[in-house]
Amino acid sequence: MIYIFTALYCEAHIFIRHFNLIKNQQGTWYQQFYNETTGILLTVTGVGEIAAAAVVGSVCSIYKPTQNDFLLNIGICAHSAQNDGIFLCNKLVEQATGRTFYPDMLYCHEFAEGTIVTGMRPYHTSHDDVRMTAGAPVGTLYDMEAAAVYQTGSHFFGPHQMIFLKIVSDRGIIEDVSKERTMLLMEKYKDSIFDFLRQTSTIMKNTGCHNISPKQEEGTLIETFCADLHCSKAMYDSMKQHIRYLALAKVDYVSQIRELYEKKLLPCMDKREGKRRFEEFKRRLF
């Protein structure tokens, strides 16, 4: 699943429309939209670090992301030197604490990259907010959620599963930012965003983990096999490990177990015989 988090509805609009997302009517205290077919869950967090952290924590606790999922935090931001552009963030700085976070930069993309500072207040040059800009290099991005999303997200996602895409809306003049302008900016970059989303989704599917549990029928056979060997807990664990290895090695262990039954070597009379039989079974493998 792709977990998308935006601070505002106007940042979410392009996804809702493009992916035909349906509103979740189950009474969550945040706005949420989903499409089960495309595997997208979009949540509007509200503005600010606390709102973002609370919502990301809540959503991830409910849906429990897996290793094949990823998180996208997308929205507008300010830039210290330019009025326009889309950036993939390679470094997130929490302004209040100075702590830094680094999402993995593993995937090909066509965006510029940059550092983003996340503050409690909007970046506003007319306030001459020296605290926010202190020490930051020229060309820094400013927002109010990214570092918080990362910190909460890191309890559920690895750094290779979190992506922070930010679209510049202003140079620290918040009067320039409006709902309409935000929607226009999102619209402007939608193709590259959707391309990247598709690409990342493919990577997760191809590179992520696959289910290697035995099929139900095989699982039942293994359980019966262990019961008929009178396996102790330690023997059972050891057997599971052997079976896992054999499955990975593509050895036809099922036939070997069935052969033991056909030769009337199973079920065993007692634990002692079971242990002997288990040792024989292991010896046959290597």
């Binding site: 996602f157 290779h160 391309d195 050891s238 290597f286």
Partner: protein, 339 residues
């Protein structure tokens, strides 16, 4: 979109993280010059990137990035019990780089480190200073390519040459450089130093194909080893770790035949023989990272915090190889880790 069709992952070392403290270090500048199109990201401490939680070695392996940092604290470590000391009393190793460009499925680095990114410590001079201090007390057998493969990184960092220069000027110091590298350029540029032993890890081609991803073939490694012997460099052959595969005996037999054809065995320093073994904790980490890896999920025997092949199999594999090697080389030159 870049490489959309061919590969969704970024090229290796597309991003280089550099500690602020070493931004102006000469080695940093030299390494960065090798990657003019890389994105450089300033960091406070290498652990901010290297030690993040929930990293995926599997993903990072597809697009390894580089971290340049300064090594602090302990710079010299005593050799671990599972490592072969080759009869040297003062056996130490240093970690001037962490992680490797090769992707061996069984490599303990995948269990030891939380990340697949490569860290290069640029303050080699501090490591040299500590080695000098120890040399004042006693001789030293030092492995400098344990947690990485220095020759494979030589084009980028040039540390083999620096270690050779250092060893040439210090008595009582013997250095081992463990590698699977077979770079012709590396061989061409290597000058023989009697105190620097090049230790080639050799495996049957079937094992290389199955588990030692992106490494040179057996033939290439042997050719490189033979070339170094011809140039007058001390060379060690490491049949360690031996990896179990079905029909292992045939594969190891075929490998030995190729070794004996390519290498004048009377000229090698010594050989090591050892089946795969690993710390239980490292194996646990590796199993979490690689749920589908055959070599990692072998049902190993646990003993004293380490995992190894079942005793009978381990003994059979090591005895087989040692026995065959004894036909070509004296027994004193064969080191087995568990004897």
């Amino acid at each position: 979109m870049k490489n959309l069709k061919e590969d969704y992952f970024s090229p290796f070392f597309s991003h280089i993280y550099v500690e602020k403290a070493v931004l102006e270090h000469a080695r940093t500048r030299r390494i960065l010059a090798e990657f003019p199109s890389a994105t450089v990201i300033e960091i406070d401490h290498y652990k901010d990137v290297f030690c993040r939680s929930r990293q995926s070695i599997r993903f990072q392996r597809r697009a390894q990035n580089l971290i340049l940092a300064a090594k602090q604290g302990t710079l010299l470590y005593e050799g671990a019990p599972v490592c072969q000391s080759f009869g040297n009393r003062y056996f130490y190793y240093v970690s001037c780089a962490m992680n490797c460009i090769y992707d061996c499925a069984y490599c303990y680095l995948k269990g030891m480190y939380p990340s697949a990114n490569i860290v290069v410590f640029v303050n080699l001079e501090d490591i040299f200073a500590q080695v000098r201090q120890v040399l004042e007390q006693h001789p030293l057998y030092l492995c400098v390519s344990y947690d990485t493969d220095l020759p494979a990184l030589e084009r980028i960092i040039g540390y083999v040459r620096e270690w050779c220069d250092f060893a040439a000027n210090h008595e009582n110091l013997k250095i081992e450089i463990r590698t699977k590298c077979a770079s012709k350029t590396f061989v061409r540029n290597t000058r023989p130093v009697s105190a620097v032993i090049y230790a080639f890890t050799l495996s049957p081609q079937a094992v290389i194909d199955a588990f030692e991803h992106h490494t040179p073939s057996l033939t290439q490694r042997l050719s490189c080893a033979a070339e170094l012997i011809r140039a007058g460099c001390p060379v060690r052959l490491c049949f360690d770790p031996m990896i179990y595969v079905p029909d292992w005996q045939q594969h190891y037999e075929a490998m030995l035949e190729e070794v004996f054809r390519a290498i004048p065995m009377e000229k090698i320093v010594d050989v090591s023989v050892g089946t795969f073994r690993i710390s239980q904790d490292y194996l646990k980490n590796m199993r979490r990272q690689e749920p589908e890896s055959l070599v990692i999920w072998f049902p190993y025997q646990k003993e004293g915090g380490y995992c190894h092949y079942p005793d009978a199999l381990m003994e059979e594999m090591e005895c087989f190889l040692s026995g065959r090697l004894e036909e070509k080389i004296s027994r004193e030159k064969i080191f087995r880790w568990n004897v």
